[in-house]
């Protein structure tokens, strides 16, 4: 009795080893891209065991890239007679769909559904198979059948939403994705990823349809999409309008939007963020409310909306839950807001009250900002005295400007030279280098008229400044600052949109033909032409510049601009 038992064991082991060998061979053929060979190997394995799920899946993998999946109808039917498990039924659904046998596919779906009542999987499998075969109508029918059979109006909403986007049916897409998110919030990122791809032409419809969704979910999705599409202010306004009608728990929606607004901060984005923070502050309590309001005020200030920033700071002032650090931070923000608004006296008073409470770095930062405010208000002495004890490079740069505005060119040269390119942002450093370059051309140590013209520019009297530069230029030799001053006047005129005047000034500098100023003026002239869509004139000016002043410092920029004008490189 023992002998036959042992023989069976041995035979069984041989058969198992043989099956493993066959599987390995088939998989190896698949890896090498020999799909016909792999299909044959899997078939031979199925001949031994027709319901072998691994072999059925292997055969499906091998036949799919060959476009021969319909050949599996018979092996699937054989397998189903032996094993009608969900795995085999899934393969059957895919095979019948590929073979364009919808009735058989539906029978398999219903069989699987009976095995697992309440499961969406059979319908998802059918829909996905039809979708893969680019038969979107059948896919939709499969999902809707599932929804009907399961008796759940939100069943397979994500799948139907995806289909609706592919069909450009944005109303359906809006409703289905809202349903999907209501059922499972984890679908939000998928919804956003798919809906964000809706072309520009379809976006208004999509947003309108999302707005029609009964609860807040549709609007939340619309808000997130508008942020993705670069419309943060519209998004914030939409959210606030929706919240005013909802009457529910709005905090998650506000926090979600705040999260979406993170990242690079344009002025619009900063204000959108401030609007959301303000609403969030309304709904918060205690010190958290004070902190959020402070953040909102800073965001408004960053976005350039000083009035709203001031309003937020006002609410904070009367908030008993604000800590001392918050109050100091709020006062610091307020000083900045006041400076930007022109309330320099009040800002100065606040600063002096606040000064003992501030750290050295904050105090210095505010003092610099205040000094710039005094300068803009025409009070150079106050600005100077405010910085008297500050030996930083930032203060040197501001003192240099004060000296310039007073016409003390010798001192301005020294201080601006000391500050060099080491302070302020890139634009400020470039401007400082430009001024220094001009001052070095001038022989005078004192020139009040130049200081006055620059001071007009600082105080935003650009037309007055340009006139001042032009008047002074007339008194100077072209190669001793006269040309540079005309060029500067031209740039100011161009900034004012007075293009004909600017062009005239640039042309006069070019005609003077002194290397540095003439080349720079011709470059500026070309830029002016390009902005006015006078491409041919821009090209001619740049070519003339490159040929006439080949060693000028503006040659690399000129060559680059020429490439852009000709479309030889992408404009950046």
């Amino acid at each position: 009795m023992r002998w036959p038992g042992a023989l069976l064991l041995v035979l069984g082991a041989v058969r198992t080893a043989s099956a493993q060998d066959a599987s390995s061979r088939a998989i190896d053929l698949e890896r090498r891209g020999d799909y016909p060979g792999a299909a044959a190997a899997w078939r031979s394995q199925l001949a031994t065991n027709p319901a072998d799920l691994a072999a059925l899946l292997g055969l499906e993998r091998a036949l799919s890239p060959l476009g021969r999946l319909p050949e599996m109808v018979e092996p699937v039917q054989t397998a189903l007679r032996r094993d009608a498990s969900s795995g085999v039924l899934g393969i059957a659904i895919r095979v019948y769909t590929a073979a364009r046998q919808p009735d058989s596919a539906r029978a398999a779906v219903e069989r699987w559904s009976r095995l697992e009542p309440g499961s969406e999987m059979p319908f998802q499998e059918w829909g996905l198979a039809a979708y893969s075969a680019r038969d979107r109508a059948s896919a939709k029918a499969a999902y809707l059948l599932g929804r009907q059979k399961l008796g759940r109006p939100d069943a397979m909403a994500a799948e139907l939403g995806q289909l609706a986007v592919a069909e450009a049916e944005y109303g359906d897409a809006a409703r289905e994705w809202s349903l999907a998110i209501q059922r499972n919030p984890a679908y939000r990122s998928s919804a956003l990823g798919i809906l964000a791809q809706v072309p520009v032409a379809g976006r208004a419809t999509l947003l309108r349809e999302l707005g029609k969704v009964g609860d807040l979910s549709g609007q939340r999705l619309a808000v997130a999409l508008e942020i993705r599409w670069g419309q943060p202010l519209a998004a914030a306004r939409r959210l606030l309008a929706a919240l005013s009608k909802s009457g529910g728990d709005d905090v998650p929606a506000l926090q979600e939007t705040l999260e979406d607004l993170r990242g690079s901060q344009s002025a619009e984005r900063a204000i959108a963020r401030a609007m959301v923070l303000e609403q969030l502050g309304e709904r918060a309590q205690g010190s958290q409310r004070a902190r959020i309001r402070l953040e909102a005020a800073q965001a408004y200030a960053d976005g350039g909306d000083q009035a709203s920033a001031r309003k937020m700071l006002g609410t904070l002032a009367g908030d008993p839950s604000a800590t001392a650090a918050m109050a100091a931070s709020a006062s610091s923000t307020l000083v900045g807001v006041l400076v930007d608004e022109g309330g320099i006296e009040e800002a100065d008073r606040k600063f002096r009250e606040l000064s003992p409470l501030l750290g050295a770095e904050d105090r210095q930062r505010l003092a610099l900002r205040l000094a710039q405010g005094w300068i803009r208000n025409g009070r150079l002495t106050q600005a100077d005295s405010l910085l008297a004890a500050d030996s930083s490079i930032d203060a040197e740069a501001i003192r240099g400007r004060i000296a310039l505005f007073r016409g003390d060119l010798a001192r301005a040269r020294t201080l601006l030279g000391d500050a060099g390119p080491f302070t302020g942002d890139r634009a400020a450093a470039t401007e400082r280098a430009g001024i220094l370059g001009l001052l070095q051309l001038l022989e005078e140590d004192s020139l009040p008229a130049l200081g006055e013209a620059f001071y007009r520019l600082e105080r935003r009297d650009s037309a007055g400044a340009a006139a001042g530069f032009e008047k002074l230029a007339a008194t100077m030799a072209p190669d001793h600052g006269g040309g540079e001053l005309l060029l500067l006047a031209g740039e100011v005129r161009a900034g004012l949109g007075q293009n004909p005047e600017a062009e005239k000034l640039y042309r006069s500098v070019v005609a003077q033909a002194f290397p540095a100023s003439a080349a720079a003026a011709e470059f500026a002239l070309a830029g002016l032409f390009l902005k006015s869509a006078r491409k041919e004139q821009a090209v001619a000016a740049l070519e003339h510049l490159l040929v006439t002043w080949p060693t000028s410092a503006v040659v690399p920029q000129a060559r680059r601009l020429l490439d852009v004008a000709r479309g030889a490189v992408p404009a950046t």
Partner: protein, 429 residues
């Protein structure tokens, strides 16, 4: 200039040679401009444009092969001097004596002077909506300031190629399978547009589907070469053009492209004699994998078979005996970092006998840059998409060539543009 003119002109070229070539014709001129193409050149790529425009103005130029890495001798007239100055191209004025001295040097060693006589008429094959910044040749031509016209299927089928000397193909898929991105990028608007445009155009041209239309386009391009045209192809246009030519009567397109699956025995039915460069390639059967065959050595879109990038080395040829390949490899760098494309390189095992390898990666089973003849014309294939964007991905920012004025990879492209302007009897080793 067609290649038959190029050869036909050889007899005339001998007479020009006896009179001292270009120098003889212009003996009255006092000065020349030497455009050096070695490391001293301030903008290698624009130097080709300056030379091209000399020819466009009806003047002559010379290409000094292997002399200072492939320098150009241009007439020293005011227009050329001005053009070089505007383009920022380094050029040295020379008098007749100095030029004679250089010529004396050229007669010794592996150097030669090739007259450049006529600006070729250049066509770039691209769909009308193609982004200009996604094609290395278009970028090189625009940066250098070389005029070209765009042609696409209607123009090719309408026989407009007869009006051009030089045709460039880039990443077009001549198997009609939309670069096999159909499944991977399903739903992407750019792909939908590409599919719609191709399907509409195929219908308008009277073809049942896109693969059929592209095969007809490929055949017309093949005929353009046969007639004496110069063909330059990069990236996937190389491989798919040959697959399209060789698959006459064989279905190699997936069902998403023509409604029927690819013939599983297609590889055995291919007519490789009709292909320009390749033979006996094994075809990729999976419709979802953006790979066509084993012609490409790097298989960038096949996770299992993808090969890392290395560097390729340009071959040296005898300037006096093999001027054509010598022109095609003129460069200030001999070893160039490799760059991916849908087709990055060409497997040695799939190259037809007689194909001239211009560059390869030492020890690797692939080559990078190949050249050959068909009928009265020539073709040159360079693998990869963008020499200055080695990992190029769909949607990447455009390459700004003003930041790569010395690009050795882009020089290879521009060598091909000037090569049809050359007029010299071709002698094969």
């Amino acid at each position: 200039m067609k290649r038959r003119d190029f050869l036909g002109a050889a007899l005339g070229g001998l007479a020009v040679g006896r009179t001292g070539s270009l120098a003889g014709l212009r003996a009255s001129r006092a000065t020349w401009l030497l455009v050096p193409m070695d490391e001293t050149q301030s903008d290698h790529l624009k130097a080709y444009g300056v030379t091209f425009r000399v020819l466009e103005r009806g003047d002559k130029a010379e290409w000094f092969l292997n002399y200072r890495d492939g320098s150009f001798l241009l007439p020293g007239d005011a227009a050329t001097q001005r053009d070089a100055a505007v383009a920022g191209v380094s050029a040295t004025p020379l008098d007749d004596g100095q030029v004679a001295e250089i010529r004396a040097g050229l007669s010794q060693g592996n150097l030669d002077a090739v007259p450049l006589e006529k600006a070729p008429k250049v066509a770039v094959y691209a769909p009308p909506n193609a982004a200009p910044w996604d094609d290395a040749v278009t970028m090189a031509l625009q940066y250098a300031g070389i005029k070209f016209e765009k042609v696409w299927d209607p123009e090719v089928i309408g026989d407009k190629l007869r009006t051009f000397d030089w045709l460039h193909l880039h990443h077009e898929d001549f198997t009609g399978q939309y670069s096999k991105f159909y499944l991977t990028y399903a739903g992407a608007p750019w792909l939908s547009e590409m599919v719609d445009r191709n399907q509409r155009t195929a219908r308008e041209l009277g073809f049942p589907n896109v693969p059929a239309a592209k095969k007809a386009v490929a055949r017309t391009i093949g005929a353009f070469v046969e007639r004496g045209g110069f063909l330059f192809a990069m990236c996937t246009a190389t491989e798919t053009l040959d697959l399209a030519l060789a698959s006459d009567g064989v279905d190699i397109a997936a069902s998403f492209a023509d409604g029927t699956p690819m013939d599983p025995d297609a590889a055995d039915k291919m007519h490789w004699d009709k292909a320009l460069a390749f033979q006996n390639a094994r075809l990729e059967l999976s419709p979802s994998m953006a790979v066509y065959s084993d012609i490409d050595g790097h298989q960038v879109n096949s996770p299992d078979r993808r090969q890392p990038l290395g560097a390729f080395t340009l071959f040296n040829f005898s300037a006096k005996i093999d001027p054509v390949p010598t022109m095609l490899v003129q460069n200030h760098r001999q070893v160039i970092p490799d760059f991916y494309g849908l087709t990055t390189s060409f497997s040695r095992q799939t190259l037809k006998p007689g194909v001239t390898v211009l560059a390869d990666e030492a020890g690797a089973p692939w080559v990078k840059y190949i050249h050959g003849e068909r009928g009265q014309g020539t073709w040159t294939f360079l693998g990869g998409h963008d020499p200055e964007d080695p990992q190029h991905q769909v949607g990447d920012a455009p390459t700004d060539l003003s930041t790569h004025p010395h690009s050795p990879g882009y020089r290879l492209i521009l060598n091909n543009v000037l090569f049809p302007a050359a007029k010299k009897k071709e002698l094969k080793t």
